[in-house]
Symmetry: C2
């Protein structure tokens, strides 16, 4: 038998557990608990407990610089793997870096700079073993379009460049502070569905932008949306250059074929990884030999030799540009962070290790801050490069160091070789990379599993393609948040029935064999009772009662006497919710019904107790399980004929 404090006699003659009212907690204690659960769900200081100071120092250092964790165990075997992976990603990084810098309307050399310093910093601070650092297409496009609204890059290329550094600086500051202040969960508002739609939309837009160099056009719209681009392209059909177009389609075809081949045979991953570099070499050779640059095929031109020049003094902290730089930094920073963390997490899952989101944010943020001081623009962990890194068999972040050294050597000695590289090859590289990001299969999967997620995804896609990158993002986030609010504003209520041969009561829609209990209406509410749903629940529960009474009238069964509300799934309640329960109790009493609550959780019990609702309802009308509540109701129903006033006597006499 249970503890006497918790038990009191019940109709069925056995001890019934009383629903416990938790001890009131001091306000500061519960506030502390709440803050801890909100900001430190992973309890990062757990390891530090009961350790000597020196050990704490080492652990702290390892927390911020994971290289101290893995470097001591580094082996020659690891080095061999990382060397191969590093060289492979470098061969991808160089052409991609140049391409994306063009996409951002920045000097092509910035793409190489950005693949030199940031990977070194990430190698020390990052906790992912597979992330390959570099610039990203979406981030580059976003930067170009957001800064382009303030400054024209043709008219004032220097200011545009400096603004890009400044935006990168703010992106880094934002990213690092999100990590330091443990606000990483803000990235969670970008759900999987949002990212699928957003990436697909951005990839479409990026591909559309490539029509400029593929068709060899000199003038092009500054807008990025489908309608403007199509209008711009078809307004100047007479300017289309067939040489450029043929070259472009050939390279796209070549890149897609190599990708397909590598996908079919993962052992030959290097074929698709090397393909961009091969395209660049082939394209450059072709132009050099045929002098195609004089026949409408645009080339990169001169690239400055030498390592990154410092750019600390280039940062622009004066209005009116400061606002634009901050805004661009915040938006691109969040997007880059979301991509980096999602990519890091995915590969960590494949290899079964754990990466810490907040730590990653600090690493990515720091590399962008230092990047902005050394002529780099926004970097993160792009999916394509990291996937190649993973396939190439990287073991640690050292593959980033290898890539960085390879890029350094290129910067020191090989930049003149890119003089004749045709822009159309870079466009082909971008297009082939982007086509992989339009993940229509994921969208179909979303439609099959969750229509609302599909709506989020398609809003993001349409918003980006027909509006702008920001419109798409805001739209998708708004729809996602609306979904959460709708869940709470229109909670499901279910009618429960008894599962045969068990004490369980379940939703009769899901379990058609569940049996209705005569004279008792059992309802389950599936969400916290808050101000947003209090009125709805009052209406809806009243309707359940009306419908049940009509059904009873039609079938001539025993009349309704009890309304049991299963509160198991009601996680919390606010004062509007308590008022609703009070009203509901009055409504029920007016109709001669008794309200019975089952299994309210600790938060709910605490508040019902403080608001005196428990005293109003009577503690005896709160049960631990639906079965006990039904048992007690049935006992009264069958012992004394329905006659509300005598029930208290029944209770006193049991």
């Amino acid at each position: 038998m249970g503890n006497a404090d918790y038990a009191y006699p019940c109709s069925a003659g056995v001890n019934v557990q009383r629903v416990a009212i938790p001890e009131p907690q001091p306000f500061l204690k519960s506030l502390k608990y709440c803050l801890k659960e909100t900001f430190f769900p992973d309890d990062p200081l757990r390891k530090f407990k009961n350790q000597p100071a020196s050990k704490k120092l080492v652990l702290g250092l390892q927390y911020f610089f994971p290289i101290f964790e893995w470097a001591p165990q580094y082996t020659l075997q690891f080095l061999k793997s990382d060397l191969i992976a590093g060289i492979t990603i470098a061969s991808l990084a160089i052409p991609q870096g140049i391409s994306y810098a063009k996409l951002a309307n920045l000097p092509p050399i910035l793409g190489l700079y950005s693949s030199f310093i940031p990977p070194l910093i990430y190698a020390m601070m990052g906790s992912s073993r597979d992330l390959a650092v570099g610039t990203v297409a979406v981030g580059s496009l976003l930067m170009a379009s957001m800064l382009g609204r303030e400054v024209n890059y043709n008219d004032n290329p220097n200011l545009f460049l400096h603004l890009a550094f400044t935006a990168t600086f703010f992106a880094g500051v934002l990213q690092a502070s999100l990590g330091l202040f443990r606000l990483g969960f803000i990235v969670d508002v970008l759900s999987h569905a949002t990212i699928v739609g957003f990436m697909g939309g951005a990839a479409t837009v990026v591909c559309l932008q490539q029509l400029k160099s593929i068709l060899g056009l000199e003038h092009f719209t500054h807008e990025a949306d489908l309608v403007s681009v199509m209008r711009s392209v078809f307004a100047q059909t007479h300017e289309w250059r067939w040489e450029s177009a043929v070259l472009g389609w050939c390279f796209i075809f070549f890149l897609l074929v190599t990708r397909y081949f590598s996908k079919q045979r993962p052992k030959f991953f290097w074929v698709s990884a090397m393909a961009p570099l091969v395209s660049v070499i082939l394209g450059s050779l072709l132009v050099y030999l045929t002098h195609a640059e004089k026949h409408g095929v645009q080339v990169i031109g001169e690239l400055k030799k030498g390592l990154n020049p410092p750019s600390v003094t280039d940062l622009v902290f004066v209005s009116p540009y400061l606002g634009t730089a901050i805004k661009t930094g915040l938006v691109t920073g969040i997007i880059a962070l979301a991509e980096g963390i999602a990519v890091g997490r995915s590969f960590a899952m494949f290899k079964n290790y754990h990466i810490d989101g907040n730590k990653e944010m600090i690493a990515i943020g720091t590399m962008n801050i230092f990047g902005s001081f050394t002529s780099c623009y926004l970097t993160t962990g792009p999916f394509s490069r990291s996937a190649v890194n993973y396939n190439a068999g990287c073991k640690t972040a050292a593959s980033n160091i290898v890539m960085s050294i390879a890029v350094m050597l290129t910067l020191l000695f090989l930049t003149p070789l890119f003089h004749y590289t045709p822009l159309v090859v870079l466009s082909a590289i971008i297009v082939s990379a982007m086509l992989g990001l339009i993940d229509y299969q994921a969208a179909i999967h979303l439609w099959k599993i969750d229509k609302f997620d599909f709506l989020v995804c398609i809003s993001a896609y349409i918003g980006v393609v027909f509006g702008s990158v920001e419109i798409g993002l805001v739209l998708a986030v708004a729809v996602s948040i609306l979904r959460v609010l709708l869940f709470v504003a229109r909670p499901r209520t279910f009618l429960l029935g008894n599962i045969p041969n068990s004490a369980a009561y379940r939703n009769v829609e899901q379990y058609p064999n569940a049996n209705h209990v005569p004279g008792v209406l059992i309802l389950e509410i599936d969400a916290p009772i808050y101000f947003t749903n209090a009125s709805y629940l009052r209406e809806r529960i009243t309707r359940w009662i009306d419908e049940e009474e009509e059904r009873i009238k039609a079938t001539g069964q025993i009349s309704l006497q009890y309304v049991i509300m299963d509160m198991t799934a009601v996680g919390n309640i606010d004062t509007s919710g308590i008022s609703m329960l009070e009203e509901l109790k009055k409504t029920a009493e007016r109709r001669g019904l008794q309200l019975v609550l089952v299994n309210p959780g600790s938060e709910v019990m605490k508040k019902l107790n403080k608001s005196k609702f428990l005293d109003e309802l009577g503690h005896k009308w709160i049960y631990l399980t639906v079965d006990e509540a039904v048992g007690a109701c049935n006992f009264i129903l069958h012992t004394y004929k329905p006659h509300m006033k005598d029930e208290s006597e029944v209770w006193n006499n049991v």
Copy 2:
């Protein structure tokens, strides 16, 4: 024994119910169901089913004009009660109407016009029996401050007046359309806590505005916030008029004393109801006899005799004023609606009848539309007037008709009597009405029961008093919505234990006597698993497992083998949530643990099934109750010593 389709053999030797996967529904059908639950939770067309066309017409007419419902049963007894109530509220309505019109910077006569036409319309269309229609202080203040930003009422009183009609028109259109499109739930974002804080703040601001006439000041700030008003008042201490101040404090004291008296003895409700009219008469007599209007006591001056002139042609539909009018209409319309509906609902609850929110919105909206055509400004059901109506024993909306007739007679014959009414008396009436709205006891109650509701309340108050009415409103709604989002973003997870002598498993924090089950970790998640909490839950559940394993290591108990997740309270899941479960399953497997789900609801089962997670996990690892899951785990644990690979054999051989 259960249906063979739903049962399969279990460890304990009895039939176990399988968790049902609901039949897939056609997309359109589930969409229709969703829309119905969202917009028609009260199923208003239920009454119309299976009725002849003539009956349907009558029911439809009664739906829009409830007067056809109650008028046929109207008795002489009702008439007597409504007559007394109507005259009582008219005596309050006349001075209050004039006061509030002054507050809105509109000609005082508008207060009388607004108590003539709108009550007649409400009497036909309203479903509340206790609501007394009239202008409200908060709405008047809001209109003055929002329109005042566009047009100065001193410089261009006519345009200001016409804008007020236009704003009223849009408020009415908004209110009626919310009702017609069944969007009444939008009003629900104004929670009880928001309204307490907002009303308190607005009342404080309104009282501060009265300092102008109480101190007899000629110049006053156009800002409404505390800091500006205090600065304005103390900058001109030399202008304070003692005559005015003394008169003002005397009348405030008189009104408060009568209110206190009536509150103590509800039978003498008419003492406080008549007090404003008595104050007006006394004040006017005093001024008339002493010629105080020549000594710094400002008076109303001439009021035009005659009924409402039409104002349809005065509505302003041209920019730049249209935008202001629409914005003012929307904000004041929502606020007025919230007050009217809350007041109607409260009194309906006292008298145990039901009012339909959407129908009320149509009624209030229609009365404002017609009001704007007949020189009335924003009206709703103010709390003070409705409370007097209720106390005076009104039986039906006919008391509004009586009030309307009384006001009509005043307009036709008695307006000259108000010539000498001092403004300070009107201010005293407003102050005494407003003091009742600063409900500090409700705020204390909120603090005691729900700290977050208190935060919402105090944000609204501080926002209104130190910022503006809109800032307060936006702040409170934002905090309220943040609360809902936080609930979903940081769901509670609980460790469950077995309640002694029962099959129930409950939160061990709430039930300290619940017993831990060796080798099994039982967790409950208290919210839907959505993108906002998927990462958090992964971290948190991993930490639960870590902590449990540490505890086991410390105590040397049987090692952990199973993680049971009670999904009862998980109302829904999205694709991010499913990915989280997949990751969790992999994490568990890597640590040699088996994941077991208990009682997923129909939505969750549907999606887990479609996404193939059920197949991955294995249907046998999903149970209907925690007890059955624990039973099965224990059976395997005790029959075969922990050895994961053989479990499938156990299952096949049972």
